[in-house]
């Protein structure tokens, strides 16, 4: 084989198949379980389910060789999963261990308005070292999520998001498509340079502000808060320079995401969806990032059964769906075509790691009952040291 043929062969191999025989092993399946959100266990206080969350700065590894400073709930990206029953009384005690302000917005939940987590609208921000208690009844049922609503552009892509699943014992989706296994996939996009620069700038700014607050000098103009719009307009007319005129932070560039994650990980560390022939699985999709995703499943159609957590009366079939920022969608996949099938963003600029393809939110639907021999490769590939389809292929 000459060099050109060799390159051609390896390129075809890695382009055609990204998933391996290894995926069928019990070790791979066990490791895969750790790539889904971990449910947060409540403590019962009477009939109230009480949860404890903290926020801290955490070094998160997206893929081996790349980690960045994140803002994380309970030192996880994404944060732990809330899983309660419809109608449960929920109490969340939030502890802010960072030197930044935060809140939690319960995205899609019908909480009392003072629990909605919008700073200066429903509550004051939870300041460094402070605790805040959120209390509400879990409504409506379905797939929802939570995220920080302070400095949302920065804090969400810094890792402050997690799934909030409200179950219903009379779930119409379960009745229509009986399933035993379900998965949560939380999509996000991160401009790691923006995150780093902004976090540093905001940390510096908050040190300064905390120093002032300790000495009793809360200045509304410095904090850029005004009681009324008229007060703000008058301040500008009197020479006040709003933050959008005089940048007080890092460079005023909008983020350009360079990492695209599913459950906080990029390919090849993304989670896979395991299924058996004849089995039906439910996948809860959450877009907690700022970019749209066009999710395409190879070799299958799937049923879109819920939109924003709300069951769709007439589910419809598709193989590519748009998942906009802030949306959740539940899909049902039927195990009808045994194999290993990729499930990825068809805007393939998001199937990249730091600008290099492949990577990003690429993952696979893996049939557990796929015979190992079907993953074997030709004699030629075996001579290259690849007896089976490789687990990781990063150089297409």
């Amino acid at each position: 084989m000459n060099r050109r043929d060799f390159l051609k062969t390896t390129t075809v191999l890695s382009a055609a198949v990204l998933m391996p025989h290894y995926l069928l092993t019990s070790e791979a399946r066990a490791a895969n379980n750790s790539r889904f959100p971990v449910a947060l266990e409540p403590k019962m206080d009477g009939d109230v389910k009480e949860f404890h969350l903290f926020i801290d700065i955490y070094q998160h590894e997206v893929v081996p060789g790349f980690q960045f400073h994140t803002l994380a709930f309970n030192n996880r990206v994404p944060g732990p999963e809330f899983r309660v029953k419809q109608g449960d009384k929920v109490r969340v005690i939030l502890k802010n261990k960072t030197e930044l302000n935060h809140t939690i917005h319960w995205h899609g939940l019908h909480v009392p308005w003072r629990m909605d987590g919008v700073p200066y609208v429903t509550q004051m921000p939870v300041m460094p070292g402070q605790e805040f208690v959120y209390e509400f009844t879990a409504e409506p049922y379905g797939t929802h999520f939570y995220h920080c609503h302070w400095g949302t552009l920065l804090h969400m892509q810094s890792g402050m998001f997690g799934s909030f699943i409200i179950e219903n014992d009379d779930d119409p989706i379960l009745k229509k498509f009986p399933y035993e296994r379900e998965y949560t996939l939380i999509y996000s996009a991160h401009d790691s340079n923006f995150v780093r620069n902004e976090l540093n700038a905001m940390l510096e700014r908050m040190k300064e502000r905390m120093y002032l607050m300790k000495t009793g000098r809360f200045d509304k103009k410095r904090f850029a808060v005004f009681n009324t719009k008229e007060e703000f307009v008058q301040a500008v007319e009197a020479g006040y320079l709003p933050p959008y005129v005089i940048s007080r932070r890092s460079q005023a560039d909008l983020p350009q995401p360079n990492w695209f994650t599913v459950n906080g990980k990029s390919y090849p560390m993304t989670p896979n969806l395991y299924i058996r022939s004849g089995e039906t699985i439910r996948v809860r999709l959450i877009n907690a990032g700022q970019t749209e995703h066009y999710l395409h499943l190879h070799g299958h159609d799937f049923w879109l059964v819920a939109d924003d957590g709300l069951p769709i009366p007439q589910p419809w079939q598709m193989n590519t769906m748009r998942l906009s920022p802030g949306k959740t969608a539940d899909i049902i996949i039927e195990g009808k075509n045994r194999g290993i099938w990729t499930f990825h963003d068809h805007d393939t600029s998001r199937v990249t790691n730091n600008g290099l393809y492949p990577g990003g939110n690429l993952l696979a639907l893996v049939y557990e009952d796929l015979p190992a021999e079907e993953t074997e490769l030709s004699m030629m590939a075996q001579k290259m040291g690849l007896p089976n389809l490789p687990h990781v292929a990063l150089d297409e």
């Binding site: 980690q67 540093n200 300064e208 120093y211 103009k221």
Partner: protein, 396 residues
Amino acid sequence: MRSFKKHALSIIGTLGLWMTAGAQVNPEIQLGARGVVSFNTDILVHQTTTAVNDFSDTGLLTGFRQKLYNTFRGQLVIGFQFPDAESDLGQLFFHQTFIQLEDQSNIIKLGRSRVRSAMIEFPTLRDDDALEFTDVLNPFSSGENTEDHQYGNVLEYARIFNQRVWIRLHGEHFTRTPIPPETAEKDFSLNAIGFSIQYRVPQTQLWNRPILQQIGIGFNNFLTDRPGYTRRWDRALKNVTASMVLNLKPDPIHFIDLRAQAIYNEGFSEIKQVIDFFTMTRARALAAFGSLRYLMRKLERPALQVALSAGYKIFPDLVQKSDQFQIVGNVFYRLGENFDAVAQLQFRQFNGDLRTLYGESETRIQFGFVYSIDQSWNNQFDDRESLLNLEHGYIP
């Protein structure tokens, strides 16, 4: 012919590396620019002169940084500035052309750059406004320009302990003014060595720190020739520098700091009269310089700075009592992002032998503008002294 072959091979080798480097993660590109333009009025005892445009110290810096294959980063910096009009350096002077390698605790620097002739910087309009007090002077220079004392070919290693203690070992080739009939410098060998140790609180932790911001001591030894002495140590011109920066009021709105530095030049005991720059740099001398600075910050940005600095230098071994005195007062008022209007008043007085060289006194009044930017593109990694890296774990 042999020489041609050798050169051809090295060119091919270089091209080969260059061609391979065509595929790369984008380097970080940095741009720094500083424009200093002032209208000057100089009042001597018997004469008053003006300069319509003094744009010395205006300069441009470009930098390129890249992660290396280990935990180090590599950087290339190229920069030039406009020297004083009456200097012998021409229109442009390339003051920075160096390569630097660094990791969290080590910095290696090679090339032309700022020499370690001063421990701290002072709030004067131009870096060389009080050079005789603020910098160890280059004894190899004729004194025709100030750049000879500030820039040289450096070889430096710095080791940082606990993010705050800096130990530097450095060797330099200070510019040696050609002695007629020579017209150009031919010897570029090492002509100075030194080391310093300093405790320094990172600027990003301004609001954390107590009063002490910096304290340090440094040693500069010039490998001079000294007629009548054979031992290297005896022939060397030895200088000791001590410095301290105190934050008298580390307040985010009304900030006050005090800077002080003393330079002791052991000199040569045989120098009893200063008749030129050569003897001035070799005579025993003690120089002290201090600044009191008030900085008002409005909306988290500098708005007004007022500084008063003063220096005194004495040459105790001279037959005729000789000393010099200087005060510098200035006001910077911010007109917009990074754009300042400035007014500065300097008064210098000379006594003894120095009066013969420089005259009795000089008053300089300056009005001008300063515009400086510091921009970067393709950010890849954080700075050593960012808050994230300092307080939340260093990421290489």
